[in-house]
Point group: C2
Chain length 341, copies 2
């Protein structure tokens, strides 16, 4: 069986332009809000039936070309010894990493056990979706996970992570190494549980200085990607804010890369060549705009990538909570009509 999304991620010919949105299952949706009114965030992640219900809501409502499992990038950290709580301000660690010996003490996990509930979510989602669209699994990149594990609370600067990186680089690389191993195994388990594609989110990769980017972000993303060689599903790497380094991201071994909204996606295609699929890059903020303006912006992206077999329409980063539901539908309808007219 062939899915347009999977074909596009491999750069193979297919009909239409596949579309899904990062964070498409979440806070802007009424069904999600109803579930969250009764269930805290982590319980939702750990309750396969509820997580599956939330996962498929955008499919039922908008007819996206894929679902992405409802979960959080920090979920695998708990089993390593780093329990996370999710507050209104964002995720918090009860015991963030503070030293090289904290890093040494991190446990390795068997993802089918410690994060077995994620695999249950995948199976429940597959069951509900019934082969209609592919199911996307995901994980955080080592550097992004390290930022949270060291900082312990929401941050704009991740000062603790940067202090560890510069004061104790050996300890930081030990942490990145452990995280790369964990993330690789975690995604492998997701693939075994049935996901049809995986995305690695390096949300904070773009913060790294020029002389650290490849060694700290890219090298460990590559480790994760290589761990999945031969697994038979396409891999998407999304490094946010790294437009200036997009050639390096593109050479990472992933079948597809995410393009954030600060970049011109057609220009990215020129820079990276045709060897990798591109996914993006409507500014999620443009979903606040009046309908005509919004559709004009989306059309500009579609036109600029017309007939590119390796193109998946998505946002430039995750959908924002105040997004009007009807605008999401309007864009998805536009993309679906665009490819098939």
């Amino acid at each position: 069986m062939s899915f347009p999304l999977v074909d596009a991620l491999y750069g193979r010919p297919h009909e239409g332009v596949p579309v899904w949105f990062m964070r498409q299952a979440g806070r802007y949706l009424p069904g999600y809000q109803a579930v969250r009114a009764k269930t805290d965030f982590l319980t939702l992640c750990k309750t396969p039936d509820l997580a599956a219900e939330v996962t498929v809501e955008p499919l039922d409502k908008f007819g996206m070309d894929a679902v992405i499992i409802f979960s959080d990038i920090l979920v695998p950290l708990e089993g390593m010894g780093l329990p996370v709580t999710f507050t209104d301000r964002g995720p918090c660690m009860e015991t963030p990493l503070r030293s090289a010996s904290d890093i040494e003490a991190l446990k390795s996990i068997d993802p089918t056990r410690e994060t077995g509930f994620v695999m249950d979510v995948i199976r429940a989602v597959k069951d509900r979706v019934g082969g209609k669209v592919p199911v996307i699994g995901f994980a955080g990149a080592p550097w992004t996970l390290a930022c949270y594990a060291l900082e312990g609370s929401p941050s704009r600067t991740f000062m603790s992570a940067f202090q560890m990186l510069y004061r104790e680089p050996a300890a930081m690389h030990r942490l990145l190494d452990k995280l790369a191993t964990t993330v690789g195994e975690y995604l492998k388990a997701q693939i075994e549980a049935g996901v049809d594609a995986v995305q690695i989110f390096d949300t904070w990769g773009g913060m790294l200085p020029d002389d650290q980017f490849e060694a700290v972000s890219i090298a460990y993303c590559q480790r994760v990607i290589e761990a999945l060689d031969g697994c038979g599903v396409p891999r998407i790497l999304f490094v946010k804010g790294a437009g200036i380094k997009i050639e390096v991201v593109a050479k990472c071994g992933a079948e597809a890369i995410g393009v954030d909204q600060t970049q011109n996606i057609a220009n990215v295609r020129q820079r990276v060549g045709s060897g990798v699929a591109l996914q993006g890059n409507l500014a999620p903020e443009s979903l606040f705009a009046p309908r005509d303006d919004l559709l004009a912006r989306a059309t500009k992206i579609l036109d600029s990538m017309k007939d590119d077999p390796g193109f998946v329409f998505n946002l430039g980063h995750g959908i924002l909570p105040p997004t009007p539901v009807e605008n999401v539908k309007a864009v998805v309808d536009l993309v679906k009509a665009y490819g098939r007219s």
Copy 2:
């Protein structure tokens, strides 16, 4: 009289590599901390003697090639009708802008009156510095000021600003227009009070989507720069996180542009040509590193810009509070020795 910093900003031959650090007068310094123990942030900005004392501390301690007046980019907003309080979490507006009519109601200011205290700070600083080094004045760029004025509290996403931008673009551009006028006049007043160079900080310019960057960040920076035509001092434009658009930033009419640490500064030189001076770009985080590592990173930047007359050594963004004072001194000593050996 000629200052190496001013020569470098104009790309004129001079001896050595001039060096100063963004936020060089601030939280990492013991003198500053002693002053702040007795004085709140805003009172410090408004008390010329104290602000001047804090401004010259890094000159006395490290021998930088310039001082930058101690102040805050939000200072001119108070006179427009937007009082700011400075909390531990960051700046907060008591009455952030919420609508087009709030924007219409903003007052225009006479910067020599409503921000007369800044001009007094400049005169006090000039007095203390006694012509030894140039004094740099500064202001926030219109888009960055709009982000704060609309958000009202510290943010990573500036959701309120983006909602205004997309829902009510005419109102947003009216705000940017008013801010550009104010910032232009504010910097003109600083120049009349005696500053030898000015820097415009577009801290949040890099967040803008590809299809908004020029219209929202650059166009209004250009307005500010043009307002200063013929004022006789060099203008530095620093748009953080905009490496991917650095050619556009470079064409803005400023004599010099800031380069953040996500970019390779020698590569930026190749991209923008020799018509504009470059200022940057040591990662402020690298000041946490052991001395050898730190100096190796700084030397790499110096070597890559060797003999470039339009180069000012600086950080890639503002110095961070946990920075060890002795590491600042080590880098400044390195740069000063580098140019004169």
